[in-house]
Structure formats: structure tokens, C-alpha cells
């Protein structure tokens, strides 16, 4: 079974990506989809296109559900793209962010045709995860486009859709996964999972983080659901209502990626993809 590191949903198709390539998830399991990257690290969708990140092209995209592929213009960044995060309103705005291994954050305003390096404020240029906050509610001023970047030395916060960054306080270590609460604009809760320093929680909109006392030490995957939070460590899944108190889900399999969708939470890992909640 291929290792899955990234999941994305386009219309009714669930995509899974990992070192072995890109797959469509269907009733029969994983169906391999030919794509141009040799070392695939992630996949994402803006609702119209499927994009893949890795090497040698940085990112490549398919406008026709995996039929044809085109490499993006990468603004001189020749390292691997590790994560891609579409703006929650990407279907209209066409804005996407990508995190690279050493090249920092890239921003696209044309659905991935071309990217521009947007590293203002970053001190670490290996970006392992990106997570957007939900759009600012209508009628609220100022209207921010808040997004977070997880790097090998902490978390960065951008109020303007990734154009510039400011380091979040408190958190240190290799942050490999992030999740923003679905009610972010009322609670301000953001979670960050590290490789070996446990789980961190922010309740001030991601400006500062504090360690979560009873969470696992290693967090491989993290997601916000409609009712709370779900994470995975090397032993299995954990559940929490508030991001503070966590309970292990017995007999659950460890996951490397979790994706919340309308039909539930999908988990990808060393044993393929399954619906877990």
C-alpha cells in the first residue's frame, strides 16, 4: 500500500499523494494517476484544478482532472514544494500558497500558473505546513486574510493572505502540522503539532502559543472538525472538543494526514486512505 502524505478534495474526487505518486481514491482503493513530478510531497485543489508539489517542477497543475499537466513558473525557487494551501475563497480569488524546502513561501494569484516568493518576515525558509483561517465574516472591518505557516523553527502568522509574515510567540521546535478552528473568528483557536515538542495551542488568533499539557509528544496530523479537533501521533488518533483535553481513540490507526470534508474526516498514512470520523 502506498504511503499517503497529502489529501485533497475536488468536487466529488478525493485525491491522495505521497512518495509513490498521485492517486484517486474510489470505492476500489487507490487508482494511480500519471503526473510529472518525480518526488511528490503534496497535492491540493482550488476547486477547479488539481495541483501537485514536489520535484523537479516545484508545482505542476492539471486543469482537466489529471488528464494534462503543466509545470508552474517558480520565481527562481528550485527546491521541492512540500505543501500547497488554497485560499478558502480560491474559487473566486485564484490565490494559492505553497511552502517549499528552503525557498520559503510562494504565492500565486492565478491558480498556480506562476508563483512569487513572499518571504517577508520569515526567518526559516523550510515551510512544512500552511493553514488558512476561515474568511472574515461579512460586515466586519478590518477584513483580514489570516494564514499560518509552520516551519522548522516555529509558526508564522500572516494577516494579509501570505504577502508578509510575523513570527508567533511562544512556540519553538519543528512544527509539522497546523489546524485552525472552524469558529476561529469567535474563539481565536489555532493548534500546532510538532515533531517532538508536543501539541501547542493559541487562543489569541495565533499571535502566541502555549504547550498543551496532556497531549501526545509527537503530532503527525491535525485537523479541525465541526465538533472539535482530531490528531494523530505514531500510535493512533486522539480526539478533543476544545483542543486542551485529549482522549486517545482506542484501536485507531496512526495517520500522516487528516482532511475534514462534508462526509467526515479522511485519514491517510502508511496503510492508504480511510474515512475515520
Amino acid at each position: 500500500m502506498p504511503i499517503i502524505l497529502s489529501l485533497a478534495k475536488t468536487n466529488n474526487v478525493l485525491w491522495a499523494a505521497g512518495p509513490e505518486g498521485l492517486f484517486k481514491v474510489n470505492g476500489h482503493g487507490l487508482e494511480a494517476v500519471p503526473q510529472p513530478q518525480q518526488e511528490l510531497a503534496c497535492c491540493a485543489s482550488d476547486g477547479k484544478r488539481i495541483l501537485v508539489g514536489g520535484l523537479p517542477h516545484g508545482t505542476a497543475f492539471s486543469p482537466d482532472v489529471g488528464g494534462n499537466w503543466q509545470a508552474s513558473w517558480m520565481d527562481g525557487v528550485d527546491t521541492s514544494v512540500l505543501c500547497i494551501a488554497p485560499d478558502p475563497r480560491a474559487a473566486d480569488s485564484g490565490v494559492l500558497l505553497a511552502g517549499s524546502a528552503g525557498g520559503g513561501v510562494l504565492r500565486s494569484q492565478n491558480r498556480g500558473d506562476s508563483w512569487l516568493v513572499c518571504n517577508y518576515g520569515l526567518y526559516d525558509f523550510t515551510v512544512l505546513a500552511l493553514a488558512w483561517a476561515p474568511p472574515t465574516p461579512e460586515g466586519v472591518w478590518p477584513k483580514w486574510e489570516i494564514v499560518f505557516a509552520a516551519t522548522e523553527e516555529g509558526v508564522y502568522r500572516s494577516p494579509n493572505g501570505g504577502r508578509g509574515w510575523r513570527r508567533s510567540e511562544g512556540i519553538e521546535g519543528v512544527v509539522q502540522t497546523l489546524a485552525v478552528g472552524q469558529d476561529f473568528h469567535t474563539t481565536g483557536i489555532v493548534l500546532a503539532g510538532t515533531e517532538s515538542s508536543g501539541l501547542w495551542r493559541s487562543s489569541d488568533g495565533g499571535r502566541s502559543f502555549a504547550p498543551v499539557a496532556n497531549g501526545p509528544q509527537r503530532v503527525d496530523a491535525l485537523t479541525a472538525t465541526a465538533t472539535g479537533w482530531l490528531l494523530s501521533d505514531e500510535n493512533g488518533l486522539w480526539r478533543s472538543a476544545d483542543g486542551l483535553a485529549w482522549t486517545h481513540i482506542p484501536n485507531s490507526k496512526p495517520a500522516l494526514v487528516l482532511l475534514s470534508t462534508a462526509e467526515g474526516v479522511w485519514a491517510g498514512g502508511e496503510e492508504g486512505v480511510e474515512l475515520v470520523a
Binding site: D75, G76, V77, D78, G103, G104, V117, C118, N119, Y120, G121, L122, Y123, F125, W141, P142, K143, W144, P159, N160, R163, G164, W165, R166, G205, R207
Partner: protein
């Protein structure tokens, strides 16, 4: 506003030219002070509008919205009787603009209230000098009270709210708040104007230097006139490169470092040296060992020396040249520095440094910040130091604003420049309840101090200031069309130090929730300068009228 010399002559005072004393001198002062305060009072608060000035020699009408520029346009009111007081106000408001960046209209209203009340008390028999001592003591107490009210600025929301008090344009205010949040208190922002409505911003990550590329053959992306070098070796030379012998050691040193690319920063690259570098660039890919870019910095004099030093600090390179340990012809492997990424585009060189020299760079940043903080806002060298700081801290912001008319574009630019000054102060000294409420909430502290002061004249001076501190809030309420401002003042008083009158919604509410905020340092400076100007006028008993008074463009 300006009258012709003939009209002025007709209305000249009886003793003109000559000397006049009290009480006529005070009446003349009050005349001018009132004229300027009446001009600026309607502009106070979010409901106040701009002032039209003109037409000038080109029949152009200027639309102005900051008090300092409005008063700068007045070089005479036509009547010498008015001019004395008006020019004192003009100087006072201009000083507020220079030192605080904002608050000229508030200063005018405060100064008028202090002067008018001071005059009334002096005429009633109080000792003028002791009254002034009371006002000075009141300023000290109010300054402490303002400090006690101040809250630190924690995020982009507060900064946007502070910016909104200056621009009144919501979109521009949120961009200014965002830029100030990301760039910090010592923001280096380049403002670019466009001839149609436009609002955009860009952040340039890395140390930015104005530069010229030595040859178009060095572009790695010729169609965009752009060069990107990843992980280049960096050579910095304080000399001209003309001969092949000067550049070969640099290329050999870069190859010895196993670098794939080389950035050469030199005073100039020409002749055979440039030919050798271009020949290398045009070599077939399989034979080319290095991607090279040579540039010369645009800075001159002290700024050029700073640029070289900063590049040396950031890249860990040694500066080469006849005045240094070695020149380019004798460069060694260890003389070359490193960068993470180098980009040349639009006559700008952006160097993203590795983090290896962080401690040394941080120390230099701390020294520069200390120096900048000690400089007044209007110091002419301040922008140079801020620019240098932005080089070391790694970032420049570009604000792109546009409007259809020239006047509107200039007003937007002036607002943005003023807002950055104010936001810088906000990040350093925090914010207080806006809309004149912070000054209003100082009144109880002043009244308490007056009650405990034995000297009646000094106590009256403190009370005089306390009464004056209510005038900005009252004026904002009047400008918002409130029929009974006293009721609003009472509600704000009852609400406590966080409460203000929100002129836009017409409600008394929590200033921090409503985002009606003022910068502590600015409110303090406005108070101090207004009180100083008003007391100076109050202590002046005699006016000398000249036959041909000089008109000064500089306040």
C-alpha cells in the same frame, strides 16, 4: 485668506508702526488665535471635512486635511492685528505636525481654551506668572495621567483603527495597519503613486539596496529583466574592476567554495573584467561553472559606506580593495561571503542572508534602534537611519496608492506618510481612548491636584488646564451635530477611562471595542506644545508692529 497690501493698510492699527501694550496686545493676540482655531475646529474628528486652499498661481485649489499643512498655507491674514496671534498658532501647529505627526487641530483648540481662560483670570486679578506655573504643573499631572491610561498595541486591528483616525478611508487604513504591524515601529515604506484609483502593497524580504546591473547579459530571466541567484558566493569590492586579473581570483574563490553562482558588488565593472564575466555567462551550459551577476550600488558617500558595511555584516564577506586588507586581484576563498538568495529587479538588489551572523546583526540593530528612538520625528537624518535599519532587519514595504486627481493623490500620500509616523509612535508608546476622551479623563487628576494646592493662583492655573482638556471632546461632539454636548461629556465622564464618544455612530462606548484610539505619545506632545504656546502668548504683554512685516514661508 490673504489680503492685498492696500486692504491691509486701510485696516492697519492706530499705532502702526509702533508699540502696543496690555490690554490691547492681548486683544490682538486673541483675535489671531481665534481665527486659526475657528478655521481648524470644524476639521476635528471623523465627521470633519478637509479644507480647500487656493487658488494658487496656477489656479489650482488644494484639498488639505491636516492642520499643519493648512496653517502653512497662511502667511498672513491681511490684518496685522490678527497676524501676531495667528502666526504664534501657525508655529505651534507646525511644531505639533513635525514632532507628533498629527493632532494640529486639537492643539489649536486646546491653546485657544488655555489662552482665553488665562486672559479671563488675569483680567480678574490673578497673578499671571503663577497662573502659568499652575498650567505647567497641570501639564505634568496630565502627562502622568495619560501614561496611566495607555495600553500597548497588540495587533493589526488596533493599528488599523489608529490609521483610520488619520485617513478616514477604511481600505487605506487597513492596509496601513497591516503594513505597520508587519514592518514594525521603524517601518521603511516607499510610497508609489498611480494616476487612477489603486491600492496595493508589497513586501520586499531581505536587505534592499538600490543598484545597477553591469550588463544585461547577467539577467537570468531576461524577459522580466530579473536575476535570481540561489546560494551564491558574494564578493564585495570597494574598487573598480577593469582587468581580467581582478575578476579571475573571485571566480576561482567561488568555485573553491563549491558555489554555483557569484554576486559581485563593486564600484564599477567595465573593460576586460566585464568582458571576462560576460564571456563566462555566455559559455555553453555544460562548460559554465558559475552563474555570475555584477552590480554597482547607487548609494554615495556615507550611505554607500553603510551599504558596504551592511553587506559585509549580512553575508560574512570581507570588503576587498586598495584601502582594505586585500584587493580583488589577491582575493582568497575566505574573503567571499554567502547569501541564501539574491535577486535583482527594477534597479534593486535584494539579498536574503543566511542566519549565521545573527548575533552581530542583532547587536547592530539594537544600537540603531536606540539611536533612532532618541532622534526627533522631524530629524532630517532619521529616514536614512530607518532605511539602514530596514536593510539589517530584512525588509522594505512598498505602498502603491492612486487617485484620479493630483490633489487627491497628494492628499493620500500625505495621509499615508503621517499615518506611518503616528503608527510608529503607537507601537512604541501605546494607545489611549481617542476622540479627545483621553485628555478629558485626565480632568479628575487635575481637579484633585488643584484642591490640594495651597496657592490659589497656581490652583487656578491647574483648573484652567482641566477646563481646557474638555474642549477637544466637546468640539468633536459639536462637529458630529450633537445638540447637547454637555450630556455626551457627562456620559463619557461616568463611563470611566476606556469610554469615548464615537462620532461616527453617535454613541458613547468603549473606545477599544469601537476602535476609536489615539496614540499616547501624540496626545502628550499635543498637550505639551499647546500649553507651551498658549502660556508664551499669555505672558507676552507687548507687541511691536513693523512698517513692513516680513512674510515667512517657514512657520
Amino acid at each position: 485668506m490673504r489680503m492685498s497690501r492696500n486692504t491691509a493698510k486701510k485696516k492697519q492699527p492706530e499705532n502702526w508702526p509702533g508699540v502696543i501694550g496690555r490690554p490691547l496686545s492681548h486683544r490682538h493676540f486673541l483675535h489671531g488665535i481665534n481665527t486659526i482655531a475657528d478655521l481648524l475646529a470644524p476639521t476635528l474628528g471623523p465627521t470633519g471635512g478637509p479644507v480647500a486652499s487656493g487658488p494658487d498661481a496656477g489656479q489650482r485649489v488644494e484639498i488639505l486635511d491636516d492642520a499643519a499643512t493648512i496653517v502653512r498655507r497662511i502667511i498672513s491674514l491681511g490684518l496685522p492685528q490678527k497676524d501676531v496671534g495667528a502666526m504664534v498658532m501657525r508655529n505651534l501647529i507646525w511644531r505639533v505636525g513635525q514632532r507628533a505627526g498629527d493632532g494640529g487641530a486639537t492643539a489649536a483648540i486646546l491653546a485657544r481654551a488655555i489662552y482665553r481662560d488665562g486672559l479671563r483670570l488675569t483680567n480678574a486679578g490673578h497673578n499671571q506668572m503663577r497662573l502659568i506655573r499652575g498650567v505647567e504643573e497641570g501639564v505634568r499631572i496630565a502627562t502622568e495621567a495619560l501614561k496611566a491610561q495607555a495600553r500597548p498595541v497588540t495587533g493589526e486591528n488596533e493599528l488599523a483603527n489608529v490609521a483610520r483616525t488619520i485617513t478616514k478611508d477604511y481600505d487605506l487604513a487597513s492596509v496601513l495597519g497591516e503594513m505597520s504591524y508587519l514592518l514594525g515601529p521603524d517601518a521603511h515604506v516607499v510610497i508609489e503613486k498611480f494616476v487612477a484609483p489603486y491600492l496595493q502593497r508589497r513586501y520586499i524580504a531581505g536587505a534592499y539596496f538600490g543598484a545597477e546591473i553591469s550588463s544585461m547579459y547577467f539577467y537570468t530571466q531576461p524577459e522580466q529583466k530579473k536575476t535570481v541567484l540561489n546560494e551564491p558566493a558574494v564578493a564585495i569590492l570597494e574598487e573598480r574592476l577593469e582587468y581580467v586579473e581582478q575578476v579571475v581570483p573571485l571566480m576561482e574563490a567561488a568555485i573553491a567554495q563549491e558555489a554555483q553562482s557569484l554576486l559581485i558588488v563593486a564600484q564599477d565593472v567595465s573593460g576586460a573584467a566585464l568582458g571576462a564575466l560576460v564571456a563566462n555567462t555566455q559559455a555553453p551550459e555544460d562548460k559554465k561553472k558559475l552563474t555570475i551577476m555584477a552590480v554597482k550600488l547607487k548609494a554615495v558617500g556615507q550611505e554607500a559606506r553603510w551599504a558596504m558595511t551592511d553587506l559585509e555584516l549580512l553575508t560574512d564577506a570581507n570588503i576587498l580593495g586598495p584601502n582594505h586588507m586585500r584587493d580583488g586581484a589577491h582575493a582568497r576563498t575566505g574573503d567571499l561571503g554567502h547569501a541564501q538568495r539574491v535577486e535583482f529587479v527594477n534597479n534593486g538588489l535584494v539579498v536574503v542572508a543566511h542566519d549565521t551572523n545573527r548575533d552581530v546583526v542583532q547587536q547592530e540593530i539594537t544600537n540603531l534602534r536606540t539611536h533612532i528612538t532618541a532622534l526627533p520625528l522631524d530629524d532630517e537624518d532619521r529616514p536614512k537611519y530607518i532605511k539602514r535599519l530596514s536593510t539589517l532587519t530584512g525588509g522594505v514595504g512598498e505602498l502603491k496608492i492612486g487617485a484620479h486627481s493630483k490633489g487627491e493623490r497628494e492628499m493620500l500620500e500625505a495621509q499615508a506618510e503621517r499615518a506611518f509616523k503616528v503608527l510608529s509612535s503607537a507601537q512604541r508608546d501605546g494607545v489611549v481612548a481617542g476622540g479627545g476622551a483621553a485628555l478629558f479623563h485626565c480632568i479628575p487628576a487635575l481637579n484633585a491636584a488643584a484642591d490640594q494646592t495651597a496657592d490659589d493662583d497656581i490652583a487656578q492655573g491647574i483648573r484652567l488646564l482641566a477646563n481646557a482638556l474638555a474642549t477637544p471632546l466637546r468640539q468633536i461632539a459639536i462637529n458630529a451635530g450633537v445638540p447637547a454636548p454637555a450630556v455626551i461629556l457627562q456620559q463619557v465622564r461616568d463611563g470611566g477611562p476606556n469610554v469615548t464618544f464615537n462620532a461616527l455612530s453617535g454613541r458613547v462606548m468603549d473606545a477599544y471595542e469601537a476602535g476609536v484610539l489615539d496614540v499616547t505619545d501624540i496626545v502628550t506632545k499635543v498637550l505639551q506644545i499647546a500649553a507651551s504656546g498658549a502660556t508664551m502668548a499669555l505672558s507676552t504683554d507687548t507687541i511691536i508692529y513693523h512698517r513692513k512685516p516680513q512674510e515667512s514661508m517657514t512657520p
